[in-house]
Point group: C2
Chain length 436, copies 2
Amino acid sequence: MPEPLRIGLAGLGTVGLSVLKLLDRQSQALRGRTGRSIEVVAVCARDRHRPRGYDLSKLRWVDDPVDLAGAPDIDLFVELIGGGEGPARQAVERALGSGKSVVTANKALLAHHGLSLARLAEEQKVALAFEASVAGGIPVVKVLREGLAGNQIERVYGILNGTCNFILSRMETEQLPFEVCLAEAQRLGYAEADPSFDIDGFDTAHKLAILTSLAFGTAIDAAAVHVEGIQSITLADLAAAAELGYRIKLLGVAQRTASGIEQRVHPTMVARSSAIAQIMGVTNAVTIDADAVHELTLAGPGAGGSATASAVVADIADIARGIRTAPFGKPAASLDSSDRIPLQRHEGGYYIRLAVQDRPGAMAAIATRMAERQISLESIVQKPQTGARVRPVGVEVPVVLITHATTEALIRAALDAVVSDGYTSEKPQVIRIERE
Amino acid sequence: MPEPLRIGLAGLGTVGLSVLKLLDRQSQALRGRTGRSIEVVAVCARDRHRPRGYDLSKLRWVDDPVDLAGAPDIDLFVELIGGGEGPARQAVERALGSGKSVVTANKALLAHHGLSLARLAEEQKVALAFEASVAGGIPVVKVLREGLAGNQIERVYGILNGTCNFILSRMETEQLPFEVCLAEAQRLGYAEADPSFDIDGFDTAHKLAILTSLAFGTAIDAAAVHVEGIQSITLADLAAAAELGYRIKLLGVAQRTASGIEQRVHPTMVARSSAIAQIMGVTNAVTIDADAVHELTLAGPGAGGSATASAVVADIADIARGIRTAPFGKPAASLDSSDRIPLQRHEGGYYIRLAVQDRPGAMAAIATRMAERQISLESIVQKPQTGARVRPVGVEVPVVLITHATTEALIRAALDAVVSDGYTSEKPQVIRIERE
């Protein structure tokens, strides 16, 4: 039997502890599957003496993750510290630089430094594996990098943040406003005390940037992602969506277009009958459109210690088996440069909700502004939203428009004109529609 | 750049031609991803002169697949002939025996000879890859073998035959009987002229046997699978399922039980709200329950030239990249022996439809027969099935029972007693319920 694979693990939060427990529990099975013994030899975390419900006494304690990453008696560094800079970055660079493979769950680190880390890993001929960084337990990194290696990917989209999907699901099923559902998510531990990273869409954007690089062979570029969060979504939008056969999800979407690879994160109308619309609560899902396989959907737990540990340990098993591919599927030097496509060029259908002052000529003016820009309307709904617990303010009535495919630029210009006409009192709500 | 990977491909049906076209189309991308050029150097099929809409003139033609498999100028043999014996088997054995890797889509061959072929591949230190043999374009083989390597799998179940799912979907949505939907499937090319291999469940059983070996580390054993087809399913069953919150799917289920690994293929009641119940038409889906990841569902096209070619080419790309794992995830010699569990030991809920003669004491007798065997009932529905286009015969009324968890043995004993009592005129319909 070959030498054991010796691991140094940094970060003993929920995921780190779950990884230690899973490696213990599956020790024999993993030896059977990989042909090697997998041994954690040293660990590192901020506080040595915090009670963790796990016996660390047999493991060497190292105070500094960078020291652990460079320790001569480890083959593989598992980084579960988190954060795009600081100790996590330094430790990963140290590990790769000293010829050790790295497994990480750190989406921020990859989103910001994935390209340079991949270069370093390839130079050193070691693995840099990050299945756990996207969609928790769903093995979408492996599926894109290996399972669909024969495909040209056309689009990848998904529900990549359980917190947002939980909140939107609760708003819809319980008819409770955003703030109440956010507070509930915080109480249940699904949302942080400062929830902005999740609900503003940045967590989804980091994950999408990783998927984009894998799917399209482009250099990872988190700054190229257009990001909007879910805070503007109201019960009126959810009710209108339901009535029109849609559901609202925070999606990350990366898509091949004539201008290049578009990357965007925003609340999205999806057909209620689609696979992605069925995903409720904290579950994640990713759908991949590709030329050969057509459409593939993966759904499963997107977070949580145990599911994330499943992904970390799968990466460890690959390394133990000697499986090593370029981190982003092809050599970092051959990744195409990222496209930064202005959202103004986005093409698709739109949902628009307007608070229209109920006086003669309002609807005619709105319809004219749309027609002037060749925006054709699939449906118009104007009626009191009785079921939605929204009180009409003054004499305004909600009007919901669904457009056929058009561009963001035309929609924005038309709505600017509608607002200038003075028939609306609130900022128009605009939600992009994603077709299956 | 390393040497090109030289392929000999046998079988030029729909899948074979799709593989040739996909390799052509993605030639440059595959070189980028694998670091090697992938070249088909020779092909073989039954009829050299059949028009195929593909220019074979640059490829060497070999008449005998076994000769092609042993040709000294190929590194990898791609077997797309089909069939569990004969030329496919001989050619694969020849290729492996002469130290060449094999990629195959041949589920029958694997179901019957997978273990000995895996042994041979391991002895020769070559790859035996078969992603395309199960669920077409869905990379479930890779997900089980690598993506969930850190998990203990508890259950794998899925819709693995698009023909059956198409027929059941059409029966439900169009309210048309089995025979009519089967004829439609044949007209559309989804079912063979002799459809028995699909509709009797054997195709699903072969695929399930492969998944079972990968998921549970057992020696593949197609004979251990209990198999029932969909021919007995009536519109009355579909209507009753809908009313009770279920949908009927032909599932393959492999499950860890106290007695061992249970493998069964049969029409199954699944909760209408479950992910698997949403899968309609020819789409396939597989759900995996495992200790760390909990529940993961993969859905996509289960057949068709293009989707199957996606899987074949992914295997080819893995081999080009030098990725090689034991075919069934761990060495063939260490696979556990298969469990052949009598279905009588199966535990679960049951749907039972009886044609009950409408006279005093009938329901009491049935309830008593159940109670005698400690079978408790979740629901009883007795009413004319008006919506189901089924004419009541004579004075019989359909009675539908849903039981709580019990065993197959108790259900069969209770129903034997019910039939002996003489209150029923038809063979009872029994459909097992699968819980999420």
